[in-house]
Each structure stands twice: as C-alpha cells, then as structure tokens.
C-alpha cells in the first residue's frame, strides 16, 4: 500500500482554473476530459432510450407507447449510441489522453485541430439532440431508402446534418493520431516498441479517415434526395435503393471495427500488467489489428445477404467474413496465452478485461453464424442480430471502456477508486449484461424480428428476462458514476505508477503535468518488460 501522497503542485488540471482555459485548451489531456464529459452524457441519453424500449417490450402488445414513439426511440438509441458514444468513446478520451504520453511526446501532432474536433463533435451532437427534442425520426439508425428519403416523416435532414458534422470530428481525430504516431515518437520508440494500444489506435485511425468520408457523401446524397427528389435512391424515378445500402455499409461495417479495435488495445495493455508477464505474440497482435482494419473493408455485403444480391456475391462476402474473424481469434488466443505462467491479480481493470475476452469471444463467434449464408437468411433482421452486436459493442467495447476507466483513473485524476465497489460493479455488469442479451439469441432464432414493438405471445417470457437484465444493467452502470465521483474528492491519492505497469505514461506523476513529463521518459528496449515473480529468466 503506497502512503498518502500530496498531488504534485502543478498538474494539467490545476494549471489554470478559468473556463477559458478549458474551452480554448489545446492540451490533449483536457480535450480528452471534454470528450469524456460529452460521451458520458450521450451514453446516458442513449441508455435512457434503451430503458424505455426494454420497458415497453415487457408486454407483447407494446403498451404504453405508440408504434410511432417506439420507432423513434430505437432510432435515436441507435444514432446516439453509434455515432456519439461507440465511435468516439475510447479514441477521443483514452486515445487523446494517453497516445502522446505513450510515445513520449508533448501533445498530438495538431493540437488546435484536436480542439476543433471536439467542437465539431459538440455541434454535430447539438443538431442530433435538437432533432430528438423536436420529435426525432423513425427510420432506424440505418436510414434505408426509399423509406427514409421519401416516406418517413421526421427530422431526417437535421439528424443527418449532425452526423455529417460529427463525421468531420472523427476524421480529424483519426488524422491527428496517424500523424502523431508517425512523426512524434520519442527517440528509441520504434514501431515494435509501441504499446499495442497505439497499434490499435493507428489501425482505428486508418479506418476513420478512409471510411468516414464515404458516410459523409452517402448522408449528403440522402439529404439531397429528400430535399430535391431526383431519384438517386427512389426506384419510381429510376434510382436504386440498394445503392444506398452499399454506400452506407461500406462505411458502417468498418465503423464497427473503429468501435472495437481500441477496446482490444486496452485489453492488450491490461492483461500483461495484471499477469506480470510480457504479452504473448506482440507482433501477431499488432498485425492482427492492421489485418482487421484492411479486411474489414471487404465484408460490407454481409449486412445485405437477403437484399437480392447474386449468389456469387453472397458467397464472396461470406468467405471474406469468415476470414476477418481469424485475426480476432488470434488476439483472443494470445491474450489467453499471456495468462499462462503469469502471476495474476484480479483488480477491477483485470476483471473487466477478462470479461471482455469472454463476452467478445462469444459475440464474435456468433458472427460466424451470421457469416454462414443459410443461417443468416433465417436470423438476419431478428433479435439474433441485436444480441450479436450488443455482445460485441456492449459486452466488448463498453466493458473495455470501463476497463480503461479503472486502469487509467489514477493517472488521469491522481486518485484511486474504491476497489471493492469497482469489483462489485464489474460482476453486476457482467451478470446484468448476460441476462439482458443472451435470451435475445434465442428470441432471434425463434423468429422474433427486430424493431418490433408488438410481438407474438410466445416470445414474452424471454423478453421479460431480457428486460429484467436491463434493469440490473442500468443500476450497474450508475454505480461507477457514483463511486468514481466519490473518489474524486475522497479517494486515496495515487502515485505515478500504482499498478507497477510498463509504459511511458506511468513514468510521470499522477495527474501529469501540462507538458506530460517532468523529465525525458526512459524508452525501454521492448514493451511489456514485466518480470513474473518465480520465472527463472525473462
């Protein structure tokens, strides 16, 4: 147990207390906190929509909410969660905060652009929240034409404008990270010396800058079509609704890798630390991230297997979808192998990281079912799909987010959180999550379609289980808010390296000074140079 320390006299938080110093900051650490506050807000807005949805689904007749309202609820849930929580979450918070420190730099390559990113995010979010408050829209977050372009009443253009603007935020963040990693590494910090979190951020950033512009143009075309009605996507005027789907999924499939890769990077940092062991297969994990980014651009058609594509196109996308699962499997095996002959402790970050491996593996394996054409024909657009992506996004990415939150909390705030509460919350989240989403696999295979606010009687029991789990999950997600908030004031002060972790960010005080390092950090010869107690060499 480390003795109580006093916070360093001046750190990035205490540097200046004015509002101006926060809203005009170019310090990547402060920008990270600005983002953190924003995405937390969006998470709870999206979560509130989910709570109502799960409440409504307790009854097969969909009382007490009308179909119109239900449809708007799941649409806003999707839009807010996808673009205003999942896509930005880890990169803009932990990525922004840690990337420069991990490579031994003072800041990101373009600090002012970083601040612009945040403002674009907020402005985009503003448009979307405005659309929500004046009535929302009901197209689903996927905006399929011609329903969205010609039939839906709702604030499509406003919402789509918000997403368009937030897309620029993504692009600038990705651009910043790529250049930062290329140009700002400290001497001695070669590519194979980088923490795997950086490799995953790099891969994520490549997807961000290549895929997001396609979404931008797709949304622009959709908005223009809604305004002008030329028939770009309207079949009665000669347009092709499937063109919209191809363009949309060309972005949206790589987008799911934007969401999960940083989470995998976090797990790669935590597992070695709490096993006191060098990560197994560093290069394989690094290149697996890159492979996921590349192959992820080739599989978008698996969202459209039943849309009328030719059998051969279906077969190609199916094969590639199996292929893209291999690098993820490689990562899971490597993480597991890291535990072998380690010396494992079960602090909250480790509990979350282990939870990630379990839930992501399960969710990822259900992806195999979806890559298999005949099975996908049966379960696509059912609750099987809903369960699949929630296992990966919530069971995977949100769990990784909490892992990162607890791991780097001492570094960011200078405080330790109460460990017992954190472990309790981790276990509660794990249980609530499985109770919520596992029944949905069964519901899907039994034939319950998604986006249904009324359903056949026989599906009620599993829906009740799912909603019960959602209740537990809701409580479990509020707990960290409470004890982390508590720790800000009463938490034990943390030293520079409470976890005895490798990585340059741990060579500086907690919280760090404005320029990250008080003295030049020592770049180690290789990353994850943990020494397991009891190992004879290493």
């Amino acid at each position: 147990m480390s003795p109580t320390r006093r916070a360093p006299r001046k750190n990035y938080l205490t540097e200046d207390f004015t509002l101006r110093s926060w809203f005009f900051t170019t310090d990547h650490k402060r920008i990270a906190l600005l983002y953190f506050a924003s995405i937390t807000m969006f998470f709870f807005i999206g979560g509130a929509a989910a709570a109502v949805i799960r409440y409504v689904l307790i009854h097969p007749d969909g009382a007490p909410v009308s179909a119109e309202i239900y449809n708007r609820l799941f649409t806003m849930h999707g839009i807010v969660m996808v673009w205003f929580f999942l896509v930005p979450a880890i990169p803009t918070t932990f990525g922004n905060f840690l990337l420069p420190m991990m490579i031994g730099a003072r800041d990101v390559a373009f600090p002012k652009l970083n601040l612009l990113s945040w403002y674009l995010f907020i402005i985009g979010g503003g448009f979307v929240l405005y659309a929500l408050f004046v009535g929302g829209l009901d197209t689903g977050w996927t905006f399929y034409a011609p329903y969205s372009s010609a039939y839906s009443s709702g604030h499509l253009i406003t919402a789509v404008t918000g997403i368009f603007i937030a897309g620029f935020s993504s692009i600038l963040t990705g651009l910043n990270f790529i250049i930062t990693i290329h140009r700002l590494r400290a001497p001695g910090m070669g590519w194979y010396n980088l923490p795997l979190f950086c490799w995953s951020l790099y891969s994520t950033s490549v997807i961000l800058i290549i895929a997001t512009p396609v979404l931008a143009m797709t949304l622009l075309l959709l908005a223009a079509e809604r305004l002008v009605h030329v028939g770009i996507f309207d079949p009665t005027l000669g347009g092709d609704p499937l063109l919209f789907q191809h363009l949309f999924w060309f972005y949206s499939h790589p987008a799911v890798y934007i969401m999960i890769l940083p989470g995998m990077g976090v797990v790669s940092e935590i597992i070695p630390c709490f096993s006191r062991k060098e990560i197994f297969g560093y290069k394989f994990i690094a290149w697996a991230s890159v492979s996921i980014a590349v192959v992820g651009f080739l599989v978008w058609g698996h969202h459209m297997f039943v849309s009328g594509m030719s059998m051969y196109a279906g077969l190609m996308f199916s094969f590639l979808s199996f292929a893209v699962a291999v690098p993820s499997a490689i990562k899971v095996f490597n993480w597991t192998a890291t535990l072998h002959k380690g010396s494992i402790t079960f602090d909250a970050p480790m509990l979350y990281a282990l939870g990630f491996i379990g839930l992501f593996t399960l969710g990822g394996l259900t992806g195999l079912f979806l890559a298999t054409l005949p099975v996908d024909v049966h379960v696509t657009q059912t609750y099987f799909i809903v369960a699949h992506f929630h296992y990966i996004m919530v069971g995977g990415m949100v769990t990784a987010f909490f892992a990162a939150l607890h791991f780097w909390w001492p570094k960011i705030t200078g405080r330790m959180y109460p460990e017992m509460w954190a472990r309790f919350a981790a276990v509660l989240i794990f249980c609530g999550f499985n109770l919520t989403f596992f029944p949905q696999f069964i519901l899907g295979y039994e034939g319950m379609p998604r986006r249904y606010h009324v359903y056949a009687e026989q599906y009620q029991m599993l829906n009740v289980f799912s909603s019960g789990g959602a209740g537990v999950l809701a409580v479990a997600y509020v707990l960290p808010l409470l004890y982390l908030g508590w720790s800000l004031i009463w938490g034990r002060r943390a030293g520079p390296n409470p976890w005895q972790a490798t990585g340059l960010e741990w060579q500086t005080p907690s919280p760090p000074p404005k320029d990250n390092f008080t003295r030049p950090p020592k770049v180690p010869k290789k990353p994850y140079a943990y020494v397991t107690p009891g190992a004879e060499h290493g």
Binding site: N71, L365, H378, G447, V454
Partner: protein, 311 residues
C-alpha cells in the same frame, strides 16, 4: 428450444443442423477459451505455488498452429454453408408460382388463377412453391421462420424465394425490414394444406379472373393494344412470344425479357429501348400498381409465339 419453432420446410432441418453444428464448434472454441481462462486464473493467481519457470519464448509455431486450426474450421463451415445456400437459393424447375405484393403494412397475395388474399398465404404441402414478390412502396422483407427463409422485397425490382412445405399447419409470416409505423403489425399466416384441401380452398374463393385474364382486361383498358396490337400503325414491339426471350437493345446490349424487364418497360420505358425502335413508349408510372403489373406480366407471358414466325 427448437421444439418451439417448427421445421416445416424441406430445408429447415438442414439449416437447423448447420446451426447446431456451428453451435458445437463455437461452443468448443468458447469452452476452450473459458476453460483456459479459468484454469490459468486459478493456477497462476498471484501467490499460488505453481511453477512459472520456463516461460515460452518462441511463439511462431504456436501462432501458426492456432491460426491454421481456426482457418481450417472456418473454411469448413463456409463450405458447409455455401453448399446448403446454393440449394436454398436456386428454385427448382416447375414451381407453383404465387405472387406477393408488399405494401405498407400488409401482404397482398395473388394466386395464378386469380384468388387473392391479404396477410395470408395458402399453399399445398409437398410442392415446390415459388413466391414472386414486389413492393408497392418501401423495402419490406418476406420472412417465414418455420421454413427458415427470408428475402427482402425491394421496390423497383422483383425478388423471389422458394420453399417446399413438408408439414401441414399454420405458420407465422413476418415483415423483417423496418418499413414504417406499423412494421410490427405487417404479419400474417402461412397455411399449409393437403393438396385436396388446397384445391377446395382455391375453388371456394369465388369466381374471378385468372391473373392472365385480368391482365388482358387491363391491357385493353390501358390502351396498350393501340401500339402493340395487330392493327396498329405505330412501330412497337410485338409481344407475342416475347416473355423469356433475349432482346437486342438499342445501345448494342442484350437483355432477357423477364419480369423485371417487362415491369421496367411499363414504368421506365427508356431503361431498355429495344434495337430498331425509338424511345417513344410513354411511362405508365402512377397509372398501375404492382398487382396490376403482375397481372399484365402474366398476360404477356401467356401470349404464345405466333406460328410461322421465328421468335
């Protein structure tokens, strides 16, 4: 859990077997990972007496090993699925064709002899049945869980799926692509009957025109014969024997005169102008709905090639 969802189509049990097979393989992989995680977390927890000596350094063999194993398992699953999919995708010859128009928020079903129903589909057991579908408005999706089949119904083109019911009974029909306010209520019943019962049901629907006969009436009332008829002065393609033929197009290409081609000719005539003709045909968009187009196609299909003329 599979007892809840009937296996009422010929390929349903194969889909279920594939699912179970994948469940086993995925279960094994998951089980392996979980077991290792559990064992390692217990055996190598901090302070345990297990030996940490000789930690593996070289990882190449292991990496290639599990990568290859994974790849082999996945490729095997791909081929299993691909084989079943090829049989699921292509309809066998000589199907009983039934026509479906999806519109917000109902399914309109038309049997070839003119019987019509809404939100219900009566079919005979043990026949190969093909459903030819069109959408009146937005994208819908025709889903019969008991048969394990689904196909999007995309406006602007025809989609089809086929099935072979094996069990008499009533099964759910659901719309599986969000299509607006009452998407969740766009459900219906698929009623599988014995062949005699099916024939009784058809006869009991009351007198009415077959699809082709109503198509012929439309052909006249819309004035199609004015250009395409025998005594016309207008240089317009002869429709007799047209259905299914390869048509030379004005831009030098070829197209097959299938359902989509004829539908495009009626609604978007400039899309496939036949060689040797001017793009003079007017569009009938807004004057005919999807059901009527299906009737017109049925009529045109029924026109035999005139004797003596090369088709």
């Amino acid at each position: 859990m599979f007892n809840l969802l009937p296996q009422a189509g010929s390929l349903a049990h194969e889909v279920d077997n594939l699912f179970i097979g994948e469940l086993i393989i995925a279960g094994l992989m998951l089980g392996l990972v979980f077991a290792l995680l559990l064992v390692y977390c217990i055996k190598y927890r901090s302070g345990s007496g297990a030996s940490r000596a000789n930690q593996e350094e070289k990882s190449w063999v292991i990496e290639i090993g599990w990568t290859t194993a994974t790849l082999v398992a996945f490729i095997a699953l791909f081929f299993w699925g691909a084989d079943l999919y090829a049989r699921l995708y292509e309809a066998p010859p000589n199907t009983l064709d039934i026509f479906v128009v999806g519109k917000q928020w109902m399914w309109k079903v038309q049997h070839p002899d003119g019987q019509a129903e809404i939100d219900a589909l009566h079919v005979p057991v043990d026949r190969d049945i093909r459903v030819i579908m069109a959408s009146q408005d937005v994208i819908h999706s025709f889903y019969i869980p008991a048969f394990r089949i689904k196909r999007d119904v995309v406006p602007g083109r025809y989609e089809s799926l086929w099935f072979h019911p094996t069990e008499i009974g009533t099964y759910a029909l659901e719309c599986a692509e969000f299509c607006g306010t009452d998407h969740a209520r766009m459900t219906g019943d698929v009623v599988v009957m014995s062949q005699p019962d099916y024939e009784h049901w058809l006869a009991a629907q009351g007198p009415g025109d077959s699809l082709a006969a109503s198509g012929e009436k439309l052909f006249r009332s819309l004035g199609c014969g004015g250009c395409h008829g025998q005594g016309s002065n207008v240089h317009a393609p002869d429709l007799a024997g047209l259905y299914g033929k390869n048509v030379a197009l004005a831009d030098g290409g070829f197209a097959r005169a299938d359902n989509d081609f004829i539908r495009d000719a009626i609604l978007l005539p400039q899309k496939h102008v036949p060689a040797g003709y001017l793009p003079a045909m007017p569009s009938f968009a807004g004057q005919v709905d999807e059901s009527q187009i299906l009737a017109l196609i049925a009529y045109i299909k029924s026109l035999d090639a005139p004797r003596g003329k090369t088709p």
